[in-house]
């Protein structure tokens, strides 16, 4: 595939050029700018498709290619090339990003039709695509970091897209800032990890670090260092993927336009943490402790998100909680070693489709309902929005993991992997397996709740003057594509382990173990609890009437509604102490440091004012001063010399 490798930089190049033109071009590009954005993304998708098809044609061992562009940075022993790594893992992402991305671009043309700043929106979207592709194609952690922060920037810009001129403008801006800052907290981990890698291996490129981590020779990374690197990378992943304890930004990020939520905060960017974990597999494998922490974080987050999802009435926030929970699954899988990697990525892929579909569906609903997001004000929409209803239904079934929809194939793999025994720690399989199953049940509950609160119900609970109708074809064609993906992608790639095999050159071959329970038992149990959860939700939200005002609810409901008090906890545990420290520093700077320096001139003035009194104006006192001076100097000279001489 060396003949087409030269195209690889254009994967990033097209959307980057698109972004540059759109953002620098000014009003001149207003009329056609959005189509340029779509074109750039589509061009990138085409390039991705060409490369992908050529890669499939290669034998598995030759599928990984490092494409060197130029020496980026070379100083003091740190040599980083600006290079792209094309392998099955990155190409999987390229396909996901460019394909889903292009669909969402198209969707946005219609969705943002009335926005005066549509051009800028497409500029940001292009920027995002470019950054995301940089992230997944990077051949070193440093370049990955460029993409990593690039997507953070795009996310920041898009969450805050409506940061002026609306009543909620300030909240949107705050949400954007919150996302960026929490991501930065995670980024500290990536920086520290790179520092550790450089000091241990002398390089931060995948080609050097990963083999060194895998190898156990003298050149290798010691387990302690590997653990430290692994935990640092996990911190980064937690920030980017909204994993516990850095999950708080994702819900607020829904302030951005819905296509943004679909693309960035569901399908692609937030899963970058999973990508990072899988990419760094050898490091994690060298650090079992870090792996365990990854699994725990995944498990906690999957339950956390699921619980939060059950109580949210805002359709986007419910989906956001769901995203968090699903990424928890992926993270859990990523912590399970080679057995889980493939399923983590597989779930990431299917999730990318069905969650993007769900979000775009939600966007379609909002579009129809005048930007209403409260599900308690929906209901009975299936008749008015049939396409949205069907495509979201496909996504619903997929996320529930009902066979044969795509979610089943990937999520079931993760649950099975979670039940794999770990040597010496028999409790792990049971605990994490159970959590995964429990999560599936709750997922079924909240997604069913969401689906039926929106489309089901005997009577609509709309506000005044609502005339819901489907949007333009530009909006529903992407829904259809994603719906098809939600339905079929899992089966296409899952049956026969196609996808697992495809990734094997990258993530390594998993030793086959038997789960602690027989596989059919796991599948059956999972399906049973899922159906159970769905039925409960159906009974509560489809059969019974949904009140327009949220009932007070149980303690747990109230907690879940407030995201399990995550913001309050952050406020109390982090923000307040931090602000206290900042106040302390501020007061200290003013009253101690600055005043301390100003004491010097004051002291001089004070002494000056005191001693100038000696200049009394009386001749006799001057003469006395002279005479006294003679005596004192004589005495001092004698004393000092006398004492000195006595030694």
């Amino acid at each position: 595939m060396n003949d087409v490798i030269g195209l690889a930089p254009w994967l990033v190049g097209f959307p980057l050029i698109g972004a540059a033109i759109l953002l620098l071009g000014g009003k001149a590009t207003d009329r056609w700018g959005h189509w340029l954005g779509v074109l750039a993304s589509a061009a990138s998708a085409v390039v991705g498709f060409i490369l992908m098809s050529r890669m499939i044609g290669q034998v598995p061992e030759e599928r990984a290619i490092d494409h060197h562009l130029w020496t980026w940075l070379s100083a003091g022993g740190l040599d980083v090339d600006l290079g792209l790594r094309l392998d099955p893992l990155s190409m999987t992402f390229v396909m996901l990003v460019t394909f889903v991305g292009t669909l969402i671009h198209v969707y946005s043309v219609a969705y943002m039709d009335h926005d005066p700043h549509r051009r800028r929106f497409f500029g940001y979207l292009n920027l995002f695509v470019a950054a995301m592709l940089t992230l997944v194609l990077a051949d070193s952690y440093l370049l990955l970091f460029v993409g990593w922060e690039g997507v953070g920037l795009a996310s920041y810009l898009l969450i805050g897209f409506w940061d002026t001129g609306r009543p909620s403008a300030r909240e949107n801006a705050v949400a954007a800032k919150k996302a960026f800052v929490m991501n930065r907290i995670g980024d500290m981990g990536l920086i520290a990890a790179m520092a550790l890698m450089f000091s241990a291996v002398g390089s931060v490129s995948f080609a050097d670090v990963l083999p060194a981590a895998a190898g156990d020779g003298a050149e290798g990374i010691s387990p302690a260092i590997a653990t430290a690197i692994g935990l640092c990378l996990l911190l980064a992943a937690c920030g980017k993927s909204a994993q516990f304890p850095l999950q708080a930004w994702l819900g607020d990020a829904m302030a951005g336009p819905t296509p943004v939520s679909a693309l960035i905060h569901a399908a692609t960017m937030v899963t970058a943490g999973v990508y990072l974990m899988v990419r760094s597999g050898p490091i994690l494998e060298a650090a079992p402790t870090a792996q365990l922490v990854v699994v725990i974080v995944g498990a906690v987050t999957l339950l956390f998100g699921a619980v939060v999802g059950t109580a949210k009435d805002d359709i986007k926030k419910a989906l956001a909680a769901s995203t968090m929970s699903q990424i928890g699954y992926m993270m859990l899988a990523a912590g399970l070693g080679p057995a889980g990697y493939a399923f983590a990525i597989f779930h990431l892929l299917t999730h990318g489709f069905f969650k993007a579909g769900l979000f775009l569906g939600a966007g379609s609903v909002m579009h129809a309902m005048g930007d209403q997001t409260d599900m308690r004000r929906f209901g009975g929409l299936s008749r008015f929005l049939p396409i949205t209803w069907i495509t979201m239904g496909l996504g619903w079934l997929a996320i529930l993991g009902i066979p044969p929809f795509s979610g089943f194939w990937s999520k079931d793999g993760i649950i099975e992997a979670a039940f794999m025994p770990v040597e010496g720690q028999p409790w792990r399989a049971w605990v994490f397996g159970s959590v995964a199953v429990l999560g599936a049940a709750i997922t079924a509950f909240y997604m069913t709740r969401l689906f039926f609160m929106t489309f089901g119900g005997r009577r609509p609970r709309w506000t005044e003057n609502q005339h819901p109708h489907e949007g333009s074809p530009l909006m529903w064609w992407p829904l259809v594509f994603l719906g098809v993906g939600s339905a079929a992608l899992g089966a296409v790639l899952g049956i026969g382990g196609t996808f697992t095999t495809w990734l094997e050159p990258v993530v390594g071959h998993a030793e086959h173990h038997e789960p602690v329970l027989p596989v059919p038992v796991i599948i059956t149990t999972t399906l049973v609890v899922v159906v159970l959860g769905a039925l409960i939700a159906f009974r509560m939200y489809a059969v019974q009437l949904v009140p327009e005002e949220a009932p007070r609810g149980s303690v747990l409901t109230r907690a879940a509604r407030r995201d399990l008090y995550q913001d309050a906890a952050n406020e109390t545990l982090v923000m307040k102490p931090a602000f206290g420290v900042a106040r302390l520093v501020q007061v200290g700077d003013r009253d101690v440091v600055d005043r301390g320096w100003s004491v010097l001139p004051q002291a001089v003035s004070w002494f000056g004012a005191v001693f100038r009194r000696a200049q009394s104006g009386y001749v006799r006192s001057y003469a006395a001063g002279m005479a006294g001076g003679v005596l004192v100097i004589a005495v001092v000279a004698w004393l000092v010399v006398g004492l000195g001489g006595a030694q």
Binding site: P601, S605, G608, V619, M626
Partner: protein
């Protein structure tokens, strides 16, 4: 009876002194024989010519003295390169100082009272002023003072030094009392200077007596056939060799006498008062030239004695050094700290002069022969900045505006009567707008005094601190550095007022006392309301106001200021040629 042998006298070596002092004598004759109208011009020409001629002789002598120092009449005048260098600097500075003295400015008046002996505020004084009397005696007095200073710096004989001290001091006492305005202050300055100066002289001469008692001679080096103090100490042939207490006390008292002239703490108290009260051109002359002479003499005495005693009794040497160090530290501290709270420009410059005495002593305290060259350079740099700065002060005046009044005393301009100098710092606000060039020059002098690089003051300070470090007193250099920081602060304050602040030229009734310092005596002899305390406050007219103005120089002062400014920059940027010269000056241990 031995036959009288006429002493062999190297007249050329004495020529600079003879020219200057001789011109002073001629000046006295001029007062007697030249008609009143031509007197002033004659005196000025004579004075400048004498100083220039003196400098010319110094230049001629230079190569010869650098090759071989000369002792005239057994050392009564001892011309080492260092002494000759000091003489040259004094001649140059005196020349510039006289230029400032001679300037009558656009007001047509010089800074001196027409009859200094007249009682302020009397009709006699009024009459003298109306008849346009001028006191041209100041020029011979200046020449005598300058000649005394030159001699002071170049003698080996303590008695000659004493006489030189008086020759330089007595004219200065008189000159201090001759201010045209604020005459009470002027007279007070003279009285204080005189009383304290006489006291210090007495201490000095008693010290000489004690040294004579110890060594039987008052020459320090002496001649080969008649060894001086150093010689008898080293050879142990002092008549009272056992009573070294005489020597120590004597040297101490002599040093005190010299430190008084230097203006070092605790013998500094006269400095601020005298500098403030004296006529400003005289202050400039005195501050610059006296400092040169006194420091040069101090260096010679101390270094000569230190050579002598070091060999015999290092203890005494240490005592001397400790004295100088203590004095240096005190001087820097007092000069800078009290200077930082001053509100009067002249007084501020006076404290600055004290601080500089401290910095000079820091260098001197190193007791390293190399220091002599840096000391000379310091004196030159300090001197030109000082004369320039006081020259600027003479041009910044108060102007009283009395609409409709027919004031007939002093030239009436379009907008009022020019009074005395505006020396309150607050009055200098906005000077940068009124007179940018003058302010620029003054700022330059301040920066030089502050020791900012690319001005002469920096090279000078560098040399002084180098002296301390080379003598092992690095901590003293650090103290000096700290004192410099404080000093910088007060120069800066003045700079801020001049350059950044706006003038407060709003109409101001004369109910507000125009000047704080000696407010009751302002106006001096130039205005009819007189200067006595009982009279000033009676003049209250609501429409009168006092503004600050800059009078134009008639030439000489402008030349002096310009020369000083240019020299300050040149010595700061390309000091090499001058450093070469002063380096030659330290070739011989004094």
């Amino acid at each position: 009876m031995t036959e009288f042998v006429a002493p062999e006298i190297d007249w050329l070596a004495l020529a600079p002194l003879i020219v200057v002092l001789g011109a002073g004598v001629v000046g006295v004759l001029v007062e007697a024989f030249v008609p009143a109208k031509a007197r002033r011009v004659t005196q000025i020409v004579l004075t400048l010519a004498a100083l220039a001629g003196g400098f010319g002789f110094i230049a001629v002598l230079w190569p010869q003295i650098v090759a071989q120092p000369v002792q005239v009449v057994g050392g009564s005048v001892t011309l080492t390169p260092f002494a000759l260098g000091a003489q040259g600097i004094i001649a140059v500075l005196a020349f510039l100082g006289v230029l400032v003295v001679a300037d009558r400015t656009s007001t047509g008046q010089d800074s001196f009272a027409p009859t200094a002996s007249a009682v302020p505020g009397t009709s006699y004084e009024d009459l003298a002023r109306r008849s346009g009397l001028e006191q041209t005696e100041i020029y011979p007095l200046l020449l005598f003072a300058a000649g005394g200073m030159m001699l002071f710096a170049s003698t080996d004989d303590l008695i000659v030094m004493f006489i030189a001290l008086e020759v330089l001091s007595l004219p200065l006492y008189v000159l201090c009392a001759t201010a045209r305005r604020r005459r009470l202050l002027s007279q007070e300055a003279a009285a204080k200077y005189f009383l304290l100066g006489a006291f210090a002289s007495a201490l000095f001469i008693f010290g000489v007596a004690l040294i004579y008692g110890f060594a039987g001679t008052v020459r320090l080096i002496g001649t080969p056939d008649k060894p001086g103090v150093i010689g008898v100490i080293q050879s142990g042939t002092a008549p009272l060799a056992g009573m070294s207490v005489l020597l120590v006390a004597g040297v101490l008292l002599v040093t005190v006498g010299l430190l008084f002239k230097v203006g070092a703490v605790p013998f500094h108290a006269w400095t601020p008062d005298v500098y403030t009260g004296a006529p400003t051109p005289i202050t400039g002359f005195m501050a610059a030239c006296t400092k040169v002479a006194a420091v040069a003499a101090l260096v010679e005495v101390l270094y000569r004695i230190s050579i002598g005693v070091q060999a015999v009794d290092p203890e005494i040497m240490r005592q001397l050094q400790i004295v100088i160090v203590v004095v240096a530290v005190l001087t820097m501290a007092v000069g800078t700290v009290i200077g930082s709270v001053q509100t009067d420009v002249k007084r501020l410059l006076a404290y600055s002069s004290i601080a500089h005495a401290g910095f000079l002593l820091v260098g001197v305290a190193g007791f390293n022969p190399q220091v002599q060259s840096s000391t000379l350079f310091y004196l030159l740099a300090y001197g030109i900045a000082t004369i320039g700065a006081f020259g600027v002060v003479t041009l910044v005046r108060e102007r009283r505006i009395t609409p409709g009044s027919g004031e007939d005393n002093g030239p009436v301009g379009d907008d009022g009567v020019v009074l005395g100098e505006a020396t309150e710092i607050a009055q200098w606000a906005g000077l940068g707008r009124k007179a940018p060039w003058l302010t620029g020059a003054f700022a330059l002098f301040l920066l030089s005094m502050a020791g900012i690089p690319l001005t002469a003051g920096f090279i000078a300070k560098f040399g002084a601190f180098s002296g301390a470090v080379s003598g092992g007193l690095w901590w003293l250099a650090v103290l000096g550095v700290l004192a410099s920081v404080v000093a910088v602060a007060f120069y800066l304050r003045l700079l801020v007022v001049m350059v950044f602040q706006r003038a407060q030229d709003e109409p101001e009734t004369s109910q507000v006392e125009p000047v704080e310092t000696g407010g009751s005596t302002t106006g001096g002899g130039s205005t009819s309301e007189g200067a006595t305390a009982t009279l000033t406050k009676t003049q209250v007219t609501t429409a009168q106001r006092v503004v600050v103005t800059v009078v134009r120089s008639r030439g000489p002062a402008a030349v002096a200021i310009a020369v000083c400014a240019i020299a300050t920059v040149i010595l700061g940027v390309f000091p090499s040629p001058v450093l070469d010269l002063v380096e030659q000056a330290s070739k011989f241990v004094p």
